[in-house]
């Protein structure tokens, strides 16, 4: 067991993967000498050389497109997109190439590409440095999408992502990079765990589903609610595509109430999918409509106001009150018409 920050845990996972498999290569802007703007790849180029840790020219589409070619040649490229908001220039390569190549070639050509995305807000950053683009990718068949939330799962999941023969979008909650935790560096990998959601806190009154940075907020909410005598079950999705619904459905069948939280915009977010899917699975068990606690349908605002955009503890507690039919901000407001 080692105590690591989430960012160091990712670095350790990358290092481990590179040691284990010579076909693992890293591509990204500033990931070499600088070790990336978040220092995730610190020291890797020094240790593995410039052929395995490639500082790339400033071109995201090319980073992903080159990874496709490397995968064609049998490599396992791990691409770093410097910030969430800079993944869009690579969108075409991701949705038209990475996600479809295995299908297009009837399984002949594998795309074991990992795309690392420092992700989300809450860090006081400039425009385009706080986006939550995950739903674009969960809507795209052929991709897997995961989000880590603590050092242990960050370490294990980056290794699993790299080991997967499918392309994986790996979202890293920037504002939890400094979160510390015990990491078992020998924890076993599971081919399945990328698709396994995890119950973090057992509870009976409301099921709260979160992922990434908001998992911590959900844990805080569970603690706060407990002090009020409310029992929250907290589930970390871990995998956003596919979503492992079994634990969520089991939970909702007991609690009858569901709250889903994310930073991304409300409309068409992962929350919509979770709510729709759980309603399909648990309709007769639901005692109230599932509640979404999310960012607003606005561009990411100036950072001094970001606390009003992305959900915090209070917003999540308010959503829990809503699910419980307790007085809350939505009481008497109507849900539109």
């Amino acid at each position: 067991m080692s105590t690591l920050t989430l960012s160091k845990a990712i670095g350790a996972g990358l290092r481990r993967a590179m040691e284990t498999d010579p076909k693992v290569v890293l591509l990204g802007e500033d990931i070499g000498k600088l070790g990336g703007v978040y220092r995730i790849t610190d020291g890797l180029q020094a240790d593995f050389g410039e052929r395995r840790v490639l500082d790339t020219p400033l071109a995201e589409s090319a980073i992903i497109g080159a990874a496709v070619g490397l995968a064609y040649r049998g490599y396992r490229p791990v691409c770093e997109i410097q910030f969430d908001g800079f993944i869009y220039p690579a969108f075409d390569q991701i949705v038209s190439q990475v996600s479809r190549m295995h299908y297009r070639t009837k399984g002949a050509v594998r795309m074991p590409i990992t795309i690392r995305v420092p992700w989300g807000g809450g860090i006081g950053a400039a425009e385009h440095h706080s986006d939550s683009p995950e739903a674009y990718f969960t809507h795209t068949a052929g991709l897997r999408v995961v989000a880590c939330s603590n050092p242990q799962n960050a370490y294990t999941m980056i290794r699993e992502a790299i080991a997967s023969d499918d392309p994986v979008l790996y979202f890293e909650p920037k504002r939890r990079y400094h979160l510390k935790g015990e990491v078992d560096l020998e924890a076993p990998l599971s081919g399945q765990s990328a698709g396994r959601s995890q119950v973090l806190v057992a509870g009976t009154d409301v099921t709260v589903v979160a992922y990434g940075a908001l998992v911590q907020t959900a844990l805080d909410a569970a603690a706060a609610a407990e002090r009020e005598g409310i029992s929250i079950e907290v589930i970390d999705l871990l995998s956003l595509s596919p979503i492992d619904y079994a634990p969520i459905a089991q939970s909702v069948r007991r609690t009858g109430r569901l709250v889903v939280a994310h930073e991304a915009a409300l409309t068409g977010g992962v929350g919509a999918e979770v709510c729709a899917s759980i309603t399909e699975r648990c309709f007769e068990y639901l005692e109230a409509a599932p509640v979404r606690v999310t960012g607003h349908d606005i561009p990411y605002p100036p950072a001094k106001a970001e606390g009003h955009h992305i959900p915090d503890l209070d917003r999540l507690l308010d959503g829990i009150d809503c699910a419980l039919g307790r007085p809350n901000s939505r009481s008497g407001m109507g849900a539109g018409s």
Partner: protein, 353 residues
């Protein structure tokens, strides 16, 4: 660069002749055979489309020399990434005739296994494959191999950001990749002059990549240029950009009507530079195209066309449930469930009275 004039006369070139010194009449006849066969394939596929057997077909009529001569210059361990019009390249790489048309019959996502002929499936998104070739070349480099990745693309493609980014990456790493641009003068209805003011070879140079502009209807010039580029790549010299100047004599695809936008005189002009006619003239002038050889070529072309047609018509419709295959390489229970549901749904119809 031109080594064979449109009239079929050999032009000496101290610079390029050494690169084709070994190309004797026998080899030229092979190239001639390939060109005649692929033209025949092209004609047959167009006919199949007109008869409703194919959904669409992108003819390569007029571009035979550019495709055949470049493809024949490759080694089998080189890897090729193309757009949709490079059916002659695929033929030379070893794709079976029916494999060229199965995608256009809309029954399959790919005609061949890319690793069986070292050629990726045709790319429909314009320019995207140039990045794949570049990445593949990085892999060759990392392997310490001396193979080469080759990217084929059109004049229109040069406007796409991806192609420029591929040039940037290739130059940055001195990657062993050949950018083979077929300037066939048109991107659907748009003349090449809309995509660039200067030559496309100049484009390559601007990225610091050695670039050549060659007569794309001249098998010898294309052979020389491709060999130069391959040799440079194999010996660690990095990428090369080749602009093969040719002409799309047919429509963009069978769905296109070029009379809406193309001056007929232009086509007439290019008919005079037909790559097959040119090589025919050259070989004939040397008495190297005897009637029995022509007959043999015609026979190969006809039998290939027949094989193509028979294979095409025999292609089965895809199994409904196959649409769920190969979305993922690792297990995906949710999709498996969906497949089961859909199978169950389809069964409902069979069960129905």
């Amino acid at each position: 660069m031109q080594l064979l004039t449109p009239a079929g006369e050999r032009v000496a070139s101290p610079e390029y002749d050494p690169w084709v010194g070994d190309v004797d009449d026998a080899q030229l006849r092979d190239l001639y055979r390939d060109m005649v066969v692929v033209r025949r394939i092209d004609t047959e596929a167009t006919a199949l489309q007109r008869q409703g057997e194919l959904a669409l077909w992108p003819p390569l009529l007029g571009q035979e020399a550019a495709q055949v001569a470049s493809a024949r210059a490759l080694r089998s361990d080189d890897f090729v990434f193309t757009s949709y019009r490079e059916n002659a390249v695929a033929y030379c790489r070893g794709a079976a005739p029916v494999e060229l048309v199965s995608v256009w019959r809309a029954v399959t996502a790919t005609g061949w296994n890319p690793y069986s002929i070292n050629m990726a499936t045709p790319q429909v998104v314009i320019g995207a494959q140039t990045l794949h070739a570049t990445g593949y070349a990085l892999g060759i480099q990392a392997d310490g191999a001396d193979a080469v990745a080759v990217a084929y693309f059109g004049d229109g493609a040069t406007s796409e950001g991806d192609v420029s980014e591929a040039l940037v990456f290739a130059a940055a790493y001195s990657a062993p990749v050949v950018f083979f641009c077929q300037n066939n003068h048109w991107a659907i209805s748009e003349p090449v002059t809309l995509q660039t003011r200067g030559s496309l070879a100049a484009r390559g140079s601007g990225f610091g990549i050695p670039s050549m502009r060659v007569d794309g209807n001249d098998v010898l010039a294309v052979t020389a240029a491709t060999r130069i580029a391959l040799d440079r790549a194999r010996s660690g010299g990095g990428p090369t950009f080749i602009e093969a100047v040719t002409y799309r004599m047919g429509p963009h695809t069978t769905a296109d009507d070029p009379t809406r936008y193309r001056p007929p005189a232009e086509l007439d002009e290019w008919r005079k530079r037909d790559p097959i006619v040119r090589l025919e003239a050259y070989l004939t002038s040397r008495n190297e195209l005897p009637d029995d050889f022509r007959a043999e070529v015609q026979a190969v072309a006809d039998s290939t066309a027949a094989e193509l047609r028979a294979g095409c018509i025999a292609l089965p419709d895809p199994d409904p449930l196959s649409i769920f295959d190969h979305v993922y390489a690792d297990p995906h229970p949710a999709l498996e469930q969906r497949r089961e549901w859909y199978a169950h749904y389809l069964d409902g119809f069979e069960a129905a009275p």
